[in-house]
Amino acid sequence: MTVIATESLSKRYPRVTALDRLNLGIAPGVTGLVGANGAGKSTLIKILLGLAPATEGSASVLGMDVRVDGARIRERVGYMPEHDCLPPDVSATEFVVHMARMSGLPPTAARERTADTLRHVGLYEERYRPIGGYSTGMKQRVKLAQALVHDPDLVFLDEPTNGLDPVGRDDMLGLIRRVHTDFGISVLVTSHLLGELERTCDHVVIIDGGKLLRSSSTADFTQATATLAVEVTDYAETPATAGSNETPANAEQPANAEHTANAEHTANAEAHEHTANSEQPARLDGAAALREALTAAGLRVAAPGSGEQTLPGAGHLVMVDAADESTYDIVRDTVVELGLGLVRMEQRRHRIAEVFQDDPQSATDPAATDSATTDPATTDPAATEPTAGPTAAGRLTESGGRDDTEGGGSHVR
């Protein structure tokens, strides 16, 4: 069963082609629709809601043709726009009740469903206050509630994490996941952040310039192997070096604060950059030493410069394939033996972006090679177009780190 199906769907405006012969088949579940701004995401949603006619081709939502059954589709579908859309002078309850009635729910049912839905999205006492006084996170919840209040079979969520802080972002992504798992509602969620969708979606569709770039299941290539990210200092911490570098580190902190999880971490990283770059350039590179030692211990270690190691401040990261529990012990022992400071050690999954990385890297990077080999098997027949190669890698590189402060901060450019 498919929730959304399009066949050769095109939308051309006088100047631009928004969608170009798009073929999609989306199954129930959480599906991510990724693309840069102007890639055609909003146009696709507009057509699927039956609000704009397609130039050519056909589309169906929940088995209904968008050209003839627009009103019936919109009765069974919810839509959460990207932009602010809430009047500030009414309460969330009043607003959502009104929207429920606009979806065709009788007055009593509208009130009951509103109370239920607002509770499910996490709005309690504040729902009786005017929306104008809400935080961005609360407003996003109201927007989600109005899309869910009529218990649709499918919701379109347009950039639901826009403008949220990292915690709010995680909450929202968790909520979106629950919309499918607990409420049984299929979700089509758009984002230009590739990183956040891999945690939330069962399936990711990537469009670019109105064309389908790729359509794959996320589970197939993000959960195949676990990767361990290890960050080490260049030297064992001695009070002397830490003390001498404290002042410059603090001064530089605001500029780089977003890349790090906490202030202590920042101070460390800055201190080491400082040490390595200007004061004692001849000193040993801790990450490189660890890489050698771990390879010698029989672990598979990613080559430097691959993947996210091109990111600023990520030079101290070592990516290790975690085969089993013993890997953690080996890493810990090795770090201690080398006399390095262990900044952090955390579990990673492979990321969708790795699929789009160029061949030269995957040749030296076992992790990337893995995902590249599993890749053709997991993609949809419709998606096995040759376009997914270098252009994709060029456009879909990640620019943000995967630290907690950044959330899913990987941008599709």
């Binding site: 909003s42 949603i45 507009k46 809601l49 609000l51 704009a52 009103a71 019936r72 919109r74 009765e75 579908v77 919810g78 839509y79 726009p81 932009h83 602010d84 859309c85 809430l86 009047p87 500030p88 002078d89 009414v90 009043e94 009104h98 929207m99 009635r101 606009m102 979806s103 065709g104 729910l105 009788p106 049912a109 469903r113 239920d116 499910h120 005017p130 109005q146 009529h150 218990d151 607990d182 409420f183 049984g184």
Partner: protein
């Protein structure tokens, strides 16, 4: 003083301390999980009626904050007051007829009605545009035309209530004062026709101006401007041409503003007395033009509103 409360306070904390913890779990809200909705979905027509009712209530501040009830209710009171006074005078003085005709009432109250339209039309449409709520409507079963029809008819009915209620008061008062059932009923019926045409015309103009000025403050000013400036300009011009002796031009000039348009319409077709200089009633040809212009303004407002929302969609 400091010694006395201390034993009491410690005693009370000791008393509440053990009691409080067991009560907390009982107060927790049970999550009963998500419930699917299998009830009826009433579709497009119902959604449109809901929007109509919501907009109509909104036009009197009902279902909204107390603050937004003040202005419409005060204006409604002010527009009602003269009719009550007229009835009181008619009853007290045993008059043969009411001091004012039914059809003239909206014209006497013109500035006040203009104020009401200026306050409520932006409230009805500008909010949805300004806060970009319209995509939420259009992603639901209703079509764009349904939205326009619901908003337009709600504003028209709100105005009809605003203008028609004083007429009803006058009618009831006229019957109580025994001013003749036939006379009063005929006058009231003509008055209602006047009120209906007046409401639809002014609702259309008000909503259209409001829909193209999403900032509410500008909308209010623009509507007052559109309704009053042409009216005063036209009236002045009418007096000028009347003084120069061209009587025919007076009624043709009347086509130029909503207020004089209604004045000419009611004097020609509804038996009313006019405020035009020299009490000139439009000729038959001019009268047809009055009807055509009224129809054109109403139809034009509706079509332009639809065009406005074609652009304001998702």
């Amino acid at each position: 003083m400091s010694a006395d409360p201390t034993p009491g306070a410690s005693g009370s904390t000791a008393a509440t301390g053990p009691v409080a913890p067991p009560r907390t779990p009982a107060a927790s809200i049970h999550n009963i999980g998500y419930r699917k909705y299998d009830g009826e979905r009433l579709g497009r027509g119902y959604a449109m009626r809901s929007l109509f009712v919501q907009s109509l209530r909104g036009a009197y501040g009902l279902g909204r904050s107390a603050k937004s009830k003040v202005l419409p209710m005060v204006l409604f009171g002010v527009v009602l007051a003269p009719s009550l006074i007229m009835v009181a005078i008619a009853v007290a003085t045993d008059a043969k007829e009411l001091p004012a005709e039914y059809t003239a009432y909206p014209l006497i109250m013109l500035p006040l009605i203009g104020l009401y339209v200026a306050a409520m039309a932006p409230q009805s449409v500008s909010r949805d545009l300004r806060f970009r709520t319209t995509p939420l409507y259009f992603s639901r079963p209703i079509e764009r035309t349904d939205y326009v029809i619901a908003k337009y008819s709600a504003m028209s009915v709100a105005l009809l209530i605003f203008v028609g209620t004083p007429m009803l008061v006058m009618y009831v008062g006229g019957l109580l004062a025994k001013l003749g059932f036939v006379d009063q009923t005929k006058g009231f019926a003509l008055g209602l026709v006047m009120a209906l045409v007046f409401s639809v015309l002014h609702a259309g103009i008000g909503l259209l101006v409001a829909a193209v000025t999403p900032r509410r403050g500008f909308g209010v000013a623009a509507i007052i401007g559109v309704l009053t400036i042409p009216y005063f300009a036209t009236t002045i011009m009418q007096f000028i041409v009347y003084d120069e002796g061209s009587r025919e031009a007076v009624s043709w000039l009347g086509l130029a503003s909503p207020g004089t348009l209604m004045d000419g319409f009611q004097s020609k077709f509804l038996d009313g007395s006019t405020d035009f200089p020299g009490s000139i009633v439009p000729s038959n040809t001019a009268g047809i033009c009055y009807l055509l212009v009224i129809a054109a303004v109403i139809a034009g407002s509706y079509l332009l509103l639809n065009a406005r929302y074609r652009k304001a969609g998702l």
